[in-house]
Symmetry: C2
């Protein structure tokens, strides 16, 4: 079983937005064992859209279209599909009600063109939009399944997960499942990783081993094909062990377990609270922790200490440390981490100070960074980074290094207790 | 002149990353007046890649390929192009030197497979990679221009802007340019906006008016085709005026002037400093300001006050305000904004407190938010929002509303002074 994803919208071709929908759907389909062979993007143009639909239906079992279901004249996905499959568009009562309700609760006036959003393909399965207005649809034609989804990610994602996936599993029930597992690495480059496990990659066909790199992190995806779930899992376990024997020191997590999620879950498990003092990252680290639901049990808060005055007055870094060593220093990072910890009475204090760029600071080049760490049961310390990217790359990398350090330290706590 | 963008990499089809390269390149090409008709994504598979190349070259003047230039066995873009165009791959001295230098400066060992990255298409223009290793290439065949770029965005973007754009302008010099301008709206939905300017849209062909929606913001793109630059600009000015007459109150900026960039540029212009107190946003607002180069002249810092203790002890909100009104209240938002301003001696204090979700807080539903604002020359006040999204959507929307409020207030300062 294989799928293609067609995104519709001139805003994509004009570069106004990235096609994050295709990313999300590809992840979901991979988990279901469905191969995605192509993504395509076309503008709000009926004839080019029709070309893509015709090409896709000759090759794919499943064609997912996102976007073009809205109220405006540019939105023509369902009109194009209706014409191609010779299906009528009919008004869908529950969707119209939901749209009217949306305007009532938002205290806004419903304009006439919004009614168009309640038109659906005759005979299709209709999915009510619980986070917006345009409903989704599924219709089968000549053994190809077409799924039409709204463009905005926050409408599309829950609709796909809650309504479309169960429907697809029913329709395509018989496929031979692929189980996959992603091993996540930090601190090793893609080429070095592949070089070190070259023999393993060459020897393996099932499971396959595929290297992936993204945003300075490297991953390996192991994929096993087997009808028996237990057997597939044991094949993955075996391959994972072979990889760990060679490069296990760089592995920090699996699957969706990002550096952020791993760090927060260790904090929660160990019931530890954390306080932050952020200079160059200016709240990015704390904000990422707060993006995880339930973060309130571990994040107490902290200080965005962008200036030396704030470092001194609000965090309590002694003025002579700032005068003697400067803000971009090991000594300052240690003071920031220790003092924010004692000031907020947290178990852990972490600090970030450095030069994001593009300009040097205190005579130090962009990319010079210190991360300070203070735990109640050990001496505070700081590590240094020499980053080579642009301003926001350096800020993001700094935050990632912070989470990586935290994971390493928290894992030691687990293993020593 | 028209272009197609082909991204190569199974990590895209597996949903590991989004195709942000296509977004960036589309923006750049639109600015050059080049129409992009299609984006395509294929995996690390030579035969499917070859299909895409063959299809694209029959339609497009310019075919840009991103990804698949790396050191691993999966990387086969240039091999596929070489085979299709019957060109040899030859080692490129300066690229090999740059790659060797990269390993020396990173203090890492160069593995043999990295040499592969220095192979280039014989006879092509080669672009040295200043932010990574794999060089880019440009080669013309049967009147189609092929451009090969590395996949990582931080390598691809500067290479395209600095090296590829000038080359393309030389090659395609004669085209009829499109000038476009984006008007950015906040506080009005896409359907309502289009409905209110429907007559204008129907009447206009040059400039065209296209509505775009992204992440809760709505934009209109005006595009004028004219050989004379001055004339095109005056056509855009005229259309912009017609739109402003109807819905000008919702316009906050133009082109790349996001809410963030507009707010920061007003702060800088007016030489105002700002301090923040962030509860539900937990540093997101401050961190966004700090993402703009030179933010240090306006952002002093602030407090991430995730708990009531931190609101009281570090910001100075009176305990009886927290006991009587709760943290999610107008009174608390005003205290936070006023006290962070006086504590950090800034011109402006801004605060965010509310319920991100998914759980209610203090008996108030997710999406209940207060934004406090304190300026030295006026009474502090707070506005309330009722958001309807998920946790991180609510946090991001809150930050956007914060920037919008700031823009409105700063614009009043400008007009009253």
């Amino acid at each position: 079983m294989n799928a293609e994803i067609i995104a519709v919208g001139s805003e994509l071709l004009l570069g106004q937005i990235a096609n994050t929908n295709a990313q999300f759907l590809s992840q979901q389909l991979a988990e279901m064992g469905t191969d995605v062979y192509r993504h395509r993007v076309v503008g709000d143009n009926a004839s080019r859209l029709l070309d893509e639909i015709k090409e896709a239906e000759t090759r794919a079992d499943l064609v997912i279209l996102t976007g073009g279901l809205g109220p405006t004249k540019d939105d023509l996905t369902k009109e194009t599909i209706a014409q191609h499959l010779q299906l009528e568009l009919v008004s869908h009562g529950p969707s119209l009600q939901a749209i009217e309700q949306f305007f009532v609760s938002a205290n806004r006036v419903m304009t006439e063109n919004n009614r168009k959003q309640a038109l659906v393909l005759n005979g299709s399965d209709v999915f009510i939009n619980h986070h917006g207005m345009a409903p989704g649809m599924l219709v089968t034609h000549n053994q190809t399944v077409f799924v039409l989804l709204p463009g905005p990610p926050r409408e599309m994602k829950p609709m796909f997960q809650n309504d479309v996936v169960p429907k697809l599993l029913t329709i395509f029930g018989g496929g031979k499942p692929v189980r996959s597992r992603v091993l996540r690495f930090f601190g090793i480059g893609e080429a070095e990783l592949e070089s070190r496990i070259e023999e393993l990659i060459d020897a393996q066909h099932n499971p396959t081993i595929a290297p992936l790199a993204s945003d300075g992190e490297v991953m390996l995806r192991l994929s096993a094909k087997h009808e028996n779930k237990k057997e597939a899992i044991s094949m993955l376990d075996h391959t994972e062990q072979l990889i760990n024997d060679v490069v296990g020191e760089y592995v920090y997590g699996k699957n969706d377990e990002t550096l952020l999620l791993k760090a927060v879950s260790l904090l929660k498990e160990q019931q530890k609270t954390i306080a932050v003092a952020e200079s160059l990252t200016a709240g990015l680290f704390a904000s990422q922790i707060a993006s995880v639901p339930g973060a309130g049990s571990t994040l107490l808060g902290g200080v965005v200490c962008y200036t030396n005055k704030v470092k001194h007055h609000l965090v309590g870094v002694p003025q002579d440390i700032l005068d003697t060593h400067g803000a971009v220093s090991e000594a300052c990072a240690i003071e920031l981490a220790s003092r924010i910890r004692t000031r907020l009475k947290s178990d852990i204090g972490i600090s970030f100070t450095g030069v994001a760029g593009p300009e040097p600071l205190e005579g130090q080049p962009p990319g010079t960074v210190w991360i300070g760490l203070s735990f109640s049961d050990r001496e505070p310390f700081a590590i240094s980074l020499k980053l080579t990217g642009e301003r926001n790359y350096n800020r993001i990398r700094t935050v990632k290094h912070g989470f990586f350090q935290l994971i390493r330290l928290l894992e030691k706590e687990t293993s020593s207790s």
